[in-house]
Amino acid sequence: MTTATHRFAAARLTLLLAALVPASALAGEAPSDPAALKALLTQVDDAARSDSSRATVTMEVKTKRYERSVTMELQTQGTEKSLIRIVQPAKDQGVATLKVDDNLWNYLPNTDRTMKVPAAMMSGAWMGSHLSNDDLVRESRFSEDYTFSPGPAADGDLIAITCTPKPDTPVPWGRVVVTVRPDGVPTSQVFYDEDGELVRTMSFDDIQDIGGTPVAMTMKVVPEDKPGEYTLFRYESLELDVSIADSVFTLQSLKK
């Protein structure tokens, strides 16, 4: 386990899918009324929740110690269930991670064992990236766990929303600033600690049209205290609204 500092994230891997927004997304000015903001983000969340997807994702990790490139197959159902299977590199081929609600399991083909990730490992890095295991399971729905206010000012027609976690929310952020395009596609999420210090930046780029919906195809996670390090996720292929059997998201299927 690396001793890299660990972070809780309000976003998780499947937030990639939050880039999905129904075609009826808002256009035009930033809503300044909190209720409308909430509605906007709820739409984002709802969309992610109701959809299923299948994708091939590459992950590039650059740290001070190593550089890795990992290719994986990802299947999701809403935000509760996801199955990730590593395809490349050879050493990790077949490693699979299953998330169901708050629980996370890893399957390790090398030893043919399935392990539930215990609480003590949750803050550990997932597959050597800058996301933690906890990032994968965190069920923070932005709209429920945060309060919103507009601002700060954003470039062009981008909308910036400051999200402040409610007192009972188990995240150590002071605030998160989410910047979205008018069509609801997020362009960045910036995380600040309680003293207002910048801790982490996630940026979404390369917005493409997938089956009629704009999706950010890359997500880059950059930790503030480690210059030069980043983790970059990229969709190599993505299908939305596919039908995936429930049995896919079970421990049995994890092994295959």
Binding site: T2, R113, G124
Partner: protein, 406 residues
């Protein structure tokens, strides 16, 4: 001349002389034994914590002491270990790898903890960990497998013969996972170790993708008292690495030992003080008892100075006699304690732990110059000087008054 008079005086009052001498001798003897005992006690603690746990010198990558990062390794470990073993002052050397992993048993339960990669032979020689097995066998380079701590065994319901899954983040970012047969279960009373597992160095290197590197080298020299002098040679054998003696590695141990030393010294001083006080009282008493006799001496013309010298001579001889007796008793007592040792526990057989290290509570007294000389000179000084004031007083007595004393 005076000495022979003094000597005869002493023996003329055989009982008094013997009573005083025996009291002083017993005090001296016990103070010597006390010194030996406290030294032995300190040594017991020190050996347990330093020799058996921290080691005399620890060697790491320069950043490792503060970072504890598995990436901060000692590269080219074999060469460094060989160099160290070749040093004449070095008794034992062992290398270790340290990591943090997820452990699994048969079922779904997982437990997190530390694991170590060690050289089976070297580690056994260093810490005697192979003697801490409660079941099964120790590691062996030829046999694939791991030994696990008792707490881990309990939480995963594993025993010797079972299989241990170890999952960790390898240093190249990939997942390192392996299953090892459980060769044995150990109990060190150190919680961290008991919740973890120990692998061979090679197994750990393979798991972590470490190549030929390790994290820590522990060195034990032949003589714990000369570690300071051996440091340059050790540093030369381990270039570009952080070489730290145990007092830098564990200042808490220094504090603890120092503290124990202070408290034991404190008690020793008190006892020495009381012994001295009683000796003075005894001597005072003895001189006072002789007021009449001294008065007679004065009356027959002995000069004050001569009286004083006589009393001083007596004191000196008495002190000498007591010292001889006391030394004999004290030295033999200490020698006996040194060899057979004194068991300090209440007899339930379980071992004690001090600072996470188990020890067998048997104290072997230590005979050192200090333990003997300090009581000897302190009490000897007191014995001679203690007679001085009353001697002076006696010399100034009016003989007539003195003779009338009873």
């Amino acid at each position: 001349m005076i000495l022979s008079i003094a000597w005869r005086n002493l023996w003329r009052h055989r009982r008094r002389t013997l009573l005083t001498a025996s009291s002083m001798a017993v005090s001296l003897a016990l103070c010597i034994v006390l010194g030996g005992f406290t030294s032995g006690f300190m040594e017991l603690l020190r050996a347990a914590v330093v020799d058996r746990s921290i080691g005399h010198v620890q060697i790491h990558h320069p950043d490792y002491p503060t970072s504890a990062s598995p990436y901060d390794t000692v590269a080219d470990a074999d060469t460094v270990l060989a160099n160290l073993k070749a040093l004449p002052s070095v008794d034992r050397v062992a290398g270790r790898i340290q990591g943090f992993a997820l452990f699994g048993g048969r079922g779904e339960e997982a437990s997190t903890g530390m694991f170590m990669g060690v050289d089976p032979v070297g580690e056994a020689a260093l810490t005697g960990m192979d003697e801490r097995l409660v079941s099964g066998a120790w590691l062996d380079d030829g046999t694939p497998g791991a030994v696990i701590g008792e707490r881990l065994a309990k939480s995963l319901d594993l025993a010797a013969g079972g299989e241990l899954l170890v999952v960790t983040n390898a240093l190249d970012g990939s997942i390192g996972d392996r299953v090892y047969p459980v060769l044995g279960v150990y109990k060190t009373d150190n919680i961290g170790l008991d919740e973890g597992a120990v692998l061979t160095l090679q197994a750990a290197q393979e798991l972590l993708v470490l190549e030929d590197a390790i994290h820590e080298i522990v060195v034990v020299t032949h003589d714990a008292d000369t570690i300071d002098q051996e440091l340059p040679a050790i540093t030369a054998a381990a270039p570009d690495l952080a070489v730290r003696p145990w007092w830098e590695v564990s200042p808490e141990t220094v504090e603890m030992l120092g503290l124990t030393g202070v408290t034991t010294g404190f008690f020793a001083v008190i006892i020495l003080g009381i012994a001295a006080f009683i000796i003075i009282n005894t001597l005072l008493m003895s001189v006072y008892e002789r007021t009449r006799e001294l008065g007679v001496l004065a009356a027959i013309g002995t000069r004050p100075r001569q009286i004083v010298s006589m009393i001083l001579a007596e004191s000196a001889l008495l002190a000498g006699l007591s010292a001889a007796l006391g030394l004999a008793l004290g030295l033999s007592g200490t020698a006996w304690l040194a060899s057979s040792g004194l068991r300090l526990d209440v007899g339930d057989g379980a071992s004690f732990t001090i600072a996470g290290v188990a020890l067998d509570p048997v104290v072997h007294a230590q005979l050192t110059a200090d333990n003997v000389l300090i009581p000897l000179f302190t009490l000897g000084f007191v014995a001679v000087i203690g007679g001085l004031w009353p001697a002076v007083r006696a010399a100034r007595l009016d003989p007539v008054t003195a003779i009338r004393q009873e």
